[in-house]
């Protein structure tokens, strides 16, 4: 077996040292009735070329799916990924190391994480960012739990219903059974933003935090500043959640708008869609809350000769030390995705991330215009958006199906997620959508709406 080096001779030599006559002897202490007799019912091992054939066949079985004519966003966004990102991710020294427990021989990983933390803190406009979470959704849930830790006496968290439903589901799952914390959902107003009245109604001294999407699942840009002011007045924290990080290349940062904790899904930053995972949870907060943060942190320090270097730090928050009283159970996080995002953000840089964001704004608004040329099609919410938005389409589900037959994926039928949003599609366009593809979608829509 090419991955396992033992020759029969090696095995015999090792057994001789062990003074036993067979490998079997090493597991003879297992209870007899647990020892497996039958072989595993799995196919025999394959050669590399066979694996490649098999998986290539599966990969090509995605019948009819064409990225160019797909206008899906809704939590996962097609964006350019410079190949340098992938090249760095493939560096075996990064890919096959683990959590940098021995900093002297892990400075590569540690410095990258330090740079990642710096970039994320800056992107989210807050003082401290951690070394990554699994994804935006679980990061949101962790943010809610963190708010509870900061304000342990408070028992409620307000969550905008317009937050991506999967994120809400994850928060709900994390909260189920978590002692003394329940979730209240708040609706939206006619602009698609969090309904101010609902917020005012629920925001009281029982509330530890208000969670809102930025942009929300409708693509609408919430007024974090206003929400933050209300929350602060009620002594509650403001938690912003960004499923599309590229938006932060142009939108005001959650931090400058008053968010206390900001999380985001970093998939857009150099990580392939990969059918939805792995993603990358970005997590930042004000520095006064750092000891309540979940996840790993890398800090700068000096070695014995005074040279600068990096270490894992503030680990007393973590499960391997604090165990059941840890700020989170997270251990393995999404380090290599954090590397990808770091490389991506360095390549794009100050100018590029902004340009990229603006290109998304431009393409998606051009698409919006193109789609609205069909009679009866109009934006559901009259609000600024970044790169996705909801449109009302007569008989949306049928239209969606007709478009699919013509090779266009017209985003998602929003009714599947919000029963009260009939005849709505949620569509997205990024820098990868060409003028041709956009115009084609416009034409096809005209033909599909009859």
């Amino acid at each position: 077996m090419r991955y396992i080096p033992h020759t029969e001779h090696d095995i015999q030599a090792m057994l001789a040292v062990l003074g036993v006559d067979s490998v079997e002897a090493l597991i003879r202490h297992l209870p007899e009735d647990l020892r497996q007799r039958a072989s595993l019912k799995l196919a025999p091992g394959l050669a590399e070329s066979e694996i490649s054939k098999r998986l290539t066949a599966l990969a090509e079985q995605q019948t009819g799916y064409s990225p160019e004519q797909s206008f899906l966003g809704a939590g996962a966004y097609p964006h350019l990924v410079p190949v340098v990102v992938d090249q760095m991710v493939q560096r075996a020294e990064f890919a096959t190391a683990y959590t940098p427990y021995q900093p002297e021989v892990s400075q590569g990983t540690l410095q990258v994480i330090f740079e990642f933390q710096s970039l994320v803190a800056s992107l989210l406009g807050l003082e401290v960012a951690n070394a990554s979470m699994y994804d935006g959704a679980s990061a949101s849930a962790e943010a809610v739990l963190m708010a509870k830790r900061i304000l342990p006496k408070r028992s409620r968290v307000l969550v905008a219903r317009s937050l991506h439903p999967q994120y809400r589901q994850v928060i709900q799952t994390y909260l189920d059974g978590f002692p003394g914390l329940s979730l209240v959902e708040l609706g939206w107003d006619e602009t698609g933003r969090l309904e101010p009245a609902a917020l005012a109604r629920h925001l009281d001294e029982r509330v530890c935090g208000v969670v809102v999407g930025y942009p929300n699942v409708f693509g609408v840009i919430e007024d974090i500043a206003a929400i933050g002011r209300s929350a602060r007045d009620a002594g509650a924290l403001t938690l912003s959640v960004t499923p599309e990080s590229v938006a932060l290349g142009i939108l005001k940062s959650p931090g400058e708008l008053g968010a206390d904790i900001a999380v985001a899904e970093g998939q857009s930053l150099g990580i392939p869609l990969s059918y939805g995972g792995p993603g990358l949870g970005l997590f930042a907060c004000r520095s006064r809350y750092v000891r309540n943060m979940p996840g790993r942190l890398v800090g700068e320090t000096v070695d014995q000769e005074g040279r600068s270097g990096f270490v894992l730090t503030l680990a007393t928050r973590e499960q391997h030390i604090r165990r059941e009283r840890a700020t989170s159970n997270i251990c393995t996080n999404h380090g290599l995705c954090a590397l990808a995002a770091t490389v991506f953000l360095c390549l794009l840089g100050k100018q590029g991330l902004r340009e990229l964001a603006l290109r998304n704004v431009k393409n998606s608004h051009y698409l919006a215009e193109a789609l609205q040329q069909t009679a009866g099609v109009q934006p559901r919410f009259p609000s600024p958006f970044f790169n996705e938005w909801v449109l009302t389409v007569p008989q949306a589900r049928q239209v969606w199906a007709r478009l699919k037959e013509r090779g266009v994926i017209a985003g998602i039928v929003l009714e599947d997620w919000y029963a009260d949003l009939r005849d709505c599609l949620l569509v997205c366009a990024t820098e990868l959508h060409t003028r041709e593809a956009i115009e084609r979608f416009g034409q096809q829509l005209r033909q599909a709406v009859v």
């Binding site: 991955y3 998986l55 290539t56 996962a76 021989v105 410095q111 990258v112 059918y275 990096f310 059941e324």
Partner: protein
């Protein structure tokens, strides 16, 4: 075996310092180009009002593509990694990560697939996932699988949520979870996250959990026991069947931490041991690269009784089509967006394809052989944590060199000078100054011998020149770092002043 000198001869380096990327670059420099913009001119302020827009990202780098490549390539060389040396981190299963899996995960049809692609257009991906579920069920002896959790700890959380849902459903929510003292930190943390009180069960002097000890803690308030098997000392819990019986007799469930599954494939199935739910750490047992700290994947496997509670969505088959279904009223819901770390699942599946059933069994057997071999080669000089036979890893304590003032940490640091990454240290907590070694099956006998020789040479150094060890390492990019300072005055991001 050459003993590394002190101070070393000329270092093996071809790369010197590398500053923070923020210290590189120049105003206006770029490392990217967007595709040509062929869309008619638009009024940007109409599309997106200026009031919503941020100022420039001033502390973002401005560097060329070449600078980026050089920066990260240089940094990478400062890591030890499983691709460059033995990385015997106990409990982490740092086996060889087949390169072909990296290529498979990057197939455009997989890497560029949007998670909301209509199911009928994503049949290949769905079939792959369904097939992986089947393989994991077969290997573990569990009845149903959810691939959703993103890592081992999230698998634990998911598993404990299932336990909770189960008891809730029966109208008997319970309060306590039993966890052996030797357990991994994520176990108590996950249980606590589900609102359970954690009750510690003592580990015996032999490193094993006894059914009696478990029985004495088990009552009607116990929701479950979280047990790791083989446990974190690398020992097979011999009383596991009696233990799980005790729990089941009390209406409680058994969560088995499957992080050590590399010791069991084809040898024994958790499903036969009374486990009701386990998590798999695909990045360990199934050889996906650890990525400097993830991403991993932590699917859960359950017995039939827990299946109704599994996270949504689940993969279902109708005739010859696969699709995602949310139709599970008792489900605990979701633990993350979409379906799991698909890219990692692809790698694990490719690994299973490469190994086949016999290959996996062989892997487990050789992992056990390797650990026992190292144990044997070291046991006369290092004190074993327990005399019990070990499975895929072996644990030593610092007892024998207490009086020299040398600590486990010093041994770990000195090993770096010998060119090896260090074992896991100070875990499990039940062992004084633990040194936890997991070689995995992909290491050669020769490498194990070199590693054992290094540890034996270090043992000699402990006697002859203990001060040497306290200063180690000597050959690394930096020497010992001041961790206290890092924690007291945390510097967690670059600042503009630092750059200049």
């Amino acid at each position: 075996m050459k003993t590394p000198a002190r101070p070393p001869g000329p270092g093996k380096r071809t790369v010197l310092n590398e500053p923070l990327i923020s210290a590189r670059g120049s105003v206006g420099r770029v490392g990217y180009a967007l595709p040509r913009d062929d869309i008619p001119e638009r009024d940007q302020a109409r599309d997106l009002p200026a009031a919503l827009c941020r100022e420039a990202l001033d502390d973002f780098p401005e560097v060329s593509e070449g600078e980026v490549v050089r920066h990260f390539t240089r940094l990478s060389q400062w890591n030890m990694s499983a691709a460059t040396t033995l990385y015997p981190l106990g409990s982490c299963t740092m086996k060889y990560n087949p390169v072909v899996n990296e290529y498979m995960a990057r197939l455009p049809g997989l890497a560029q697939l949007h998670p909301l692609t209509p199911d009928d257009q994503a049949q290949g991906a769905l079939m792959l996932l369904a097939e992986l579920e089947r393989c994991l069920a077969e290997i573990s002896g569990m009845d149903a699988i959810s691939l959703q959790p993103a890592a081992g700890a999230q698998g634990e959380l998911t598993g404990m949520k299932l336990v909770r849902a189960y008891h809730q459903d029966r109208g008997t929510p319970r309060k306590k979870v039993l966890i052996p003292a030797s357990a991994h930190g994520t176990n108590p943390a996950s249980a606590a996250l589900c609102g359970y009180d954690v009750a510690q069960v003592a580990t015996g002097a032999d490193g094993l959990l006894s059914a009696d000890a478990v029985a004495s803690c088990t009552d009607a308030e116990v929701a479950a026991l979280m047990v790791t098997n083989p446990n974190t000392l690398g020992l097979f819990e011999r009383e596991i069947l009696r233990i799980t019986d005790v729990l089941h007799a009390h209406g409680a469930l058994v969560y088995m931490d499957g992080a050590n599954l590399n010791a069991l494939m084809g040898v024994a199935k958790p499903g036969h041991m009374g486990a009701d739910v386990i998590q798999f750490n695909l990045h360990k047992t199934f050889s996906t690269p650890h990525g400097g700290g993830g991403p991993g994947a932590g699917p859960v496997g359950v017995k039939k009784i827990l299946e109704p509670y599994l996270p949504i969505p689940r993969i279902v088959r109708q005739n010859d089509t696969w699709s995602w279904s949310d139709a599970a009223p008792k489900s605990i819901g979701r633990v993350r967006s979409f379906y799991g770390n698909f890219g990692i699942l692809v790698r694990a599946y490719a690994y299973i394809l490469a190994m086949g059933g016999d290959g996996l069994t062989h892997a487990t057997r050789m992992a056990i052989l390797n650990a026992n071999y190292l144990r044997k080669r070291l046991e006369s000089v290092y004190t074993l944590a327990t005399q019990e036979p070990c499975m895929h890893e072996c644990v030593f304590s610092d007892r024998s060199f207490h009086q020299t003032g040398v600590k486990t940490l010093d041994i770990a640091k000195r090993l770096l000078d010998y060119g090896f990454y260090a074992p896991t240290i100070y875990f499990p907590l039940v062992v004084s100054g633990a040194l936890m070694i997991e070689p995995t099956e992909t290491e050669t006998k020769e490498t194990l011998d070199e590693f054992a020789d290094a540890l034996l040479a270090i043992a000699q150094e402990i006697t002859d020149q203990p001060d040497l060890l306290k200063q180690a390492p000597f050959t690394t990019p930096v020497s010992r770092l001041d961790e206290t300072r890092a924690a007291r005055r945390p510097v967690l991001r670059w600042s503009r002043s630092q750059d200049s």
